[in-house]
Symmetry: C2
Subunit: 312 residues, 2 copies
């Protein structure tokens, strides 16, 4: 791993993704005590950073592999990202989804041209369904977060931040499966000047926080956080990167996530997912730590079901 | 009125307002059949286009007038805009508000440094309260929409659109008090190449539509539209401009406004007020008319009470 690998990744995916805008707000600076830079991946294609990793993973396949297609199991943004990336690159995409996934999610995948295979809502069932597609079609399995090419694609978020603001002292990323924060940590390490990578994680699914403490990948017993993109756990490819390059992880309560999300909607006038608000909540909760620092916050996506969201 | 007047206006207010971004969306283009350009005044200072007219009106006062301050009556965005513009320009601002105005509105005005005078919720009471401040303090009354300097300030929205996209064939603006559409019509006339200005208005408060038909300023009997910024009526300064330069006005139902707003939030990932969605609803409703045209839609603001908004 070196700078050039990351430069090559950025050049590779550049024609297919947006260099998303970075928003600032005097009012949110005053509230937090820090100078904040919000990286708006809610404006990324298909509405989340996941597009970057999906494009990079497909582009790293051989022509033969691309012809046989790609497979993933996800009911969230990566399913949509892989479907859209595959469509743009003219590659078949097979998406394994649990049969209890919200209709709006499966419709989005179909809208982007993905081929859905439904399975029972267990890890064993989805892994079996994906393995079957790999065996039958020769398609390549792309994990949503525990895949080095996905991680490298995700690293371009931090690269764009540091290109625009080389003086950043901290980048705060939400932590779910670990793919975004691992990529972010690589970008801070290779392109920042003493720039720390810090994670924000919901307290009720604090597996990454505990994994950093114990030195092994921990699991969650429950998954009932509003930040539905962060219910997953770390993997053996991203965890070593996180251990080496992430400074620390801050856990936040559900109510803090909702309050942070409301502030982002009200003050920045943008729609972001609960998962996006976790990183901002971590900053608001630790005012003294972030005081007077130049802090980037990655707003990871904007795909939310408006009919179910409640602020009151 | 000539091009130079508008150029001078833009130069005058430029240090104090944002040249807001213009968003595009393939998906919304496909849905509408037109090529759409969304002018995001929700990202304007204080969250609405009103900042432009407020700044221009204050800057056109003499030093003596500025020292004595400015007055307006408004419970909406113009109260906040005049307060913030006055604060930035170091001028006292007196805001007359009905005593039943939502607390969130009066708090916002106070937050921007405005001095509030509460009055009974009638037109007579608010006009009397404003007149008293004018008499006692020598302050200058600035009407939210029926003031030529406010209209000229608002015209800079359309100027920025036509500077970025000189080939625009139509600009669609919401119609309330008439200040935004009058300014927009001036910009289309002086800077567009056969660029039409079209209004979008809620059907339940269709006073501007009827005024265009009868040739005189019509009133509304009711005001119960969700588009709370559009409940007001035209004035004797903006109506002649509207008559001369606006092509026509399209009325939309309440449900169409909500659906259009939901699409903007979901697809553009931005928070816009119901009033902003009225112009987009007008385009969606008249697919054949707008088909294949280059159409700008002015998203007038983003100040909405998230705790009361309902999409389901």
């Amino acid at each position: 791993m070196d700078k050039q690998t990351l430069h090559n990744t950025r050049a590779r995916i550049l024609p297919y993704v947006h260099n998303t805008p970075i928003f600032t707000s005097h009012l949110l600076d005053d509230m937090s005590g820090a100078k904040l830079y919000f990286k708006c991946e809610n404006f990324q294609k298909m509405g989340a950073f996941k597009m970057r990793g999906a494009v990079n993973a497909i582009l790293q396949l051989s022509t033969e592999q691309q012809e046989r297609g790609v497979v993933t199991h996800s009911s969230g943004n990566f399913a949509q990202a892989l479907s859209l990336a595959a469509k743009i690159l003219n590659v078949p995409a097979y998406i394994v989804m649990p049969d209890n996934a919200p209709k709006v999610k499966s419709e989005a995948v179909v809208g982007y041209g993905g081929n859905i295979t439904l399975c029972a809502a267990t890890i064993a069932a989805r892994e079996a369904a994906a393995a079957k597609i790999v065996a039958e079609r020769g398609a390549t399995f792309i994990h949503p977060s525990n895949n080095l090419n996905v991680i490298l694609g995700n690293a371009t978020v931090g690269m764009e931040l540091l290109q625009a603001h080389p003086n950043l002292q901290m980048i705060v990323s939400p932590v779910g499966g670990g793919g975004l924060i691992a990529g972010t940590a690589l970008s801070s390490h290779f392109f920042g000047v003493d720039c720390k990578t810090i994670g924000g994680e919901p307290k009720v699914v604090d597996d990454a926080y505990r994994s950093m403490q114990t030195g092994q990948i921990e699991k969650n017993e429950v998954s009932h956080t509003i930040a539905d993109g962060l219910r997953t756990q770390l993997g053996d490819i991203n965890f070593p990167i996180i251990q080496q390059y992430v400074d620390h992880i801050i856990c936040v309560e559900e109510q803090e996530i909702i309050q942070a999300m409301k502030l982002l909607w009200e003050r920045l006038k943008i729609v972001v997912e609960p998962s996006s608000a976790v990183a901002f909540a971590a900053v608001l909760k630790n005012r003294d730590y972030f005081k007077d620092q130049h802090v980037a916050i990655i707003l990871s996506g904007g795909n939310v079901d408006l009919e179910t969201i409640k602020f009151s």
